[in-house]
C-alpha cells in the first residue's frame, strides 16, 4: 500500500491530501474529505450518481483513481451555490419538482452545470444528451429536463 500526496483544486480552493494511491476520487471525497454530496450508486460508472467535474468536464468519480487528479480542478456539488444563495439550477430543480428522493440530483446538477457553461441555451435534445449518463428512479426525467431548459431560457 502506497500513500501519495495529491495537490489539486477543490471547489476553487487549493487542496493537499495524503491518500492511498489506489483510492478512487469518490472514496477520497466521501471518506477522507467528508464531502458526501457525491453519491455512490453503482460504483462502475453507469448510473452517474457520482458525477463531479474534472477540469470542467463531467466524469464518474468512482472511475477516477486519485493520482489522476494531481494539479487538476475538481468541482463537487458542495461547490454549487450555497444554503443562503442557491445556484439557478438548484432553484429551478426545486421549482419544477425535479427532486424526489434526491439521490441522483447532485450528479445531474453537476452535468447540467457543465452543459450550461459550454452551451448557455441548450435545446431539449442537448439537455437530454447531457443527462444521458444519469439514472433517476423517481422522477421519470421530465421535470429534470424542464428544470434545466428553464435555466437555459432565462440566461
Amino acid at each position: 500500500m502506497k500513500e501519495v500526496t495529491i495537490k489539486f483544486t477543490l471547489n476553487g480552493r487549493r487542496a493537499k491530501v495524503d491518500v492511498p494511491s489506489h483510492w478512487t476520487l469518490l472514496r477520497l471525497l466521501r471518506e477522507k474529505l467528508g464531502l458526501t454530496g457525491t453519491k455512490e450508486g453503482c460504483g462502475i460508472g453507469e448510473c452517474g450518481a457520482c458525477t463531479v467535474l474534472l477540469d470542467g468536464m463531467p466524469v464518474n468519480a468512482c472511475l477516477v483513481l486519485v493520482p489522476k487528479i494531481e494539479g487538476r480542478e475538481v468541482e463537487t456539488i458542495e461547490g454549487l451555490g450555497s444554503r443562503e444563495s442557491l445556484h439557478p439550477l438548484q432553484k429551478s430543480f426545486i421549482d419544477h419538482g425535479a427532486v424526489q428522493c434526491g439521490f441522483c440530483t447532485p450528479g445531474i446538477l453537476m452535468s447540467s452545470r457543465a452543459l450550461l457553461e459550454n452551451n448557455p441555451h441548450p435545446s431539449r435534445e442537448e439537455v437530454k444528451e447531457a443527462i444521458s449518463g444519469h439514472l433517476c428512479r423517481c422522477t421519470g426525467y421530465q421535470q429534470i429536463i424542464e428544470a434545466i431548459e428553464a435555466v437555459g431560457r432565462k440566461a
Binding site: G45, N60, G133, H134
Partner: protein, 300 residues
C-alpha cells in the same frame, strides 16, 4: 478464491494496492513497462480498467498512466495523413473540428459511446486494445483503412489495424508493447460515410450490432466507385466485407441491389460465426441495418 488474492476487502470498494506511475515521455513509459515484466498495466481513462481492478479481474503491481504523454494526446493532419494519439478521449474525437471534417464516421461513432462522463475519460487506445467485438471505434477505423502504431523497448512498428486482433478480447500485442497512435489517409472530399448502431438504449448501452460504411460515387453517373463495409458486434474480430464490397463496386445502388447485398452481408456474418440461437433474429436485423446504413451514406 479470487477474493483471497485481494488484500483489502472493504465495503465493495476494494481495489487492490499498486504503484501508480505517470511517465512524461513515451520512452519512459516503455522502459517502465519493460521492467515490470508483465506485472504492470497501462491506464489511460480507466473506465474499464478501474472496474476490472474492483472485480479482482486484474491485480497488477503497478499502473502506468499514459495520459500525460504529449504525443499520445494529439489529433493532427500532416501531408494527407490524419493521426490520433492513443490517449485521445472519445469526447475529443467527437468534437474535434479536424476529425469532423476528415474522419466524420469516426467522430460520429465516438459520440455514441457510453455517456458524456465515460467519453470524457475513455480513450480510443483502450477501445482498440480491449478488442471487444462490440467496440464502436473499430468498424469506422476499418473502413478508413487505419494503421496502428505500436511502440516498445524493441522499437516501433505500424500494422494495419485489422492485423492487431487475434480473437474476441485478444490482440497480438505483447505485454511490453504500447499502442500509441492510430493513423489513416485523409479521405477524398467526395467520400460519403455512415455509422449506424443498434443497442438496447439510446445511451449507456453496448452496441448489439453496428455497420460502418464509406463509399464514393464515381464520375460515371450513379455508379459506386469505391465502397468499404465493416460490421461491429457480430463477429469475434473485425473484418471488412470484401466480397460484398466487390459485389457492389461499379454498380448502381438501387433498392434491388441493396437488398441482394444485404443478404450477402448476413451470409458472410453467418459463415464466420456459424448458426447460433440468435441467428434467426440477427439475420434480418443485420440485413436491415446494412440497408439503413447504405441509405444514410448515399443520402449524404
Amino acid at each position: 478464491m479470487r477474493f483471497a488474492l485481494c488484500p483489502l476487502r472493504f465495503n465493495n470498494m476494494i481495489i487492490p494496492p499498486f504503484d501508480y506511475k505517470i511517465p512524461k515521455a513515451l520512452d519512459e513509459a516503455c522502459r517502465l513497462l519493460w521492467q515490470a515484466d508483465g506485472k504492470a498495466k497501462i491506464i489511460a481513462g480507466g473506465t474499464d480498467l478501474v472496474i476490472g481492478l474492483r472485480n479482482g479481474d486484474l491485480y497488477p503491481q503497478s499502473l502506468i498512466d499514459i495520459t500525460k504523454i504529449e504525443e499520445l494526446r494529439k489529433i493532427e493532419e500532416k501531408n494527407g495523413t490524419v493521426s490520433i494519439g492513443a490517449a485521445v478521449t472519445h469526447s475529443e474525437i467527437a468534437s474535434s473540428p479536424l476529425l469532423r471534417k476528415f474522419g466524420k464516421i469516426l467522430s460520429e461513432a465516438a459520440s455514441e459511446i457510453g455517456s458524456p462522463q465515460i467519453r470524457n475519460l475513455g480513450t480510443i487506445g483502450w477501445n482498440i486494445i480491449n478488442a471487444s467485438p462490440a467496440a464502436d471505434t473499430i468498424p469506422p477505423l476499418m473502413v478508413l483503412d487505419a494503421m496502428a502504431k505500436v511502440v516498445s523497448k524493441e522499437g516501433e512498428k505500424e500494422v494495419p489495424l485489422g492485423q492487431l486482433f487475434k480473437g474476441a478480447y485478444q490482440t497480438s500485442l505483447k505485454p511490453y508493447e504500447i499502442l500509441v497512435q492510430i493513423k489513416f489517409q485523409k479521405p477524398p472530399s467526395d467520400m460519403k460515410s455512415s455509422f449506424v448502431r443498434l443497442a438496447r438504449r439510446e445511451a449507456m448501452a453496448i452496441a448489439r450490432m453496428s455497420v460502418a460504411i464509406a463509399l464514393r460515387m464515381g464520375q460515371k453517373k450513379g455508379l459506386t466507385e469505391d465502397i468499404r463495409i465493416s460490421l461491429g458486434a457480430v463477429t469475434p474480430t473485425p473484418q471488412r466485407m470484401s466480397d460484398v464490397e466487390a459485389y457492389l463496386k461499379g454498380k448502381y445502388p438501387d433498392e434491388e441491389l441493396l437488398k441482394m447485398a444485404s443478404k450477402k452481408v448476413s451470409e458472410a456474418v453467418i459463415r464466420r460465426t456459424g448458426i447460433r440461437p440468435s441467428t434467426s433474429y440477427k439475420r434480418p436485423v443485420v440485413e436491415a441495418l446494412f440497408i439503413r446504413a447504405m441509405r444514410k451514406a448515399l443520402e449524404e
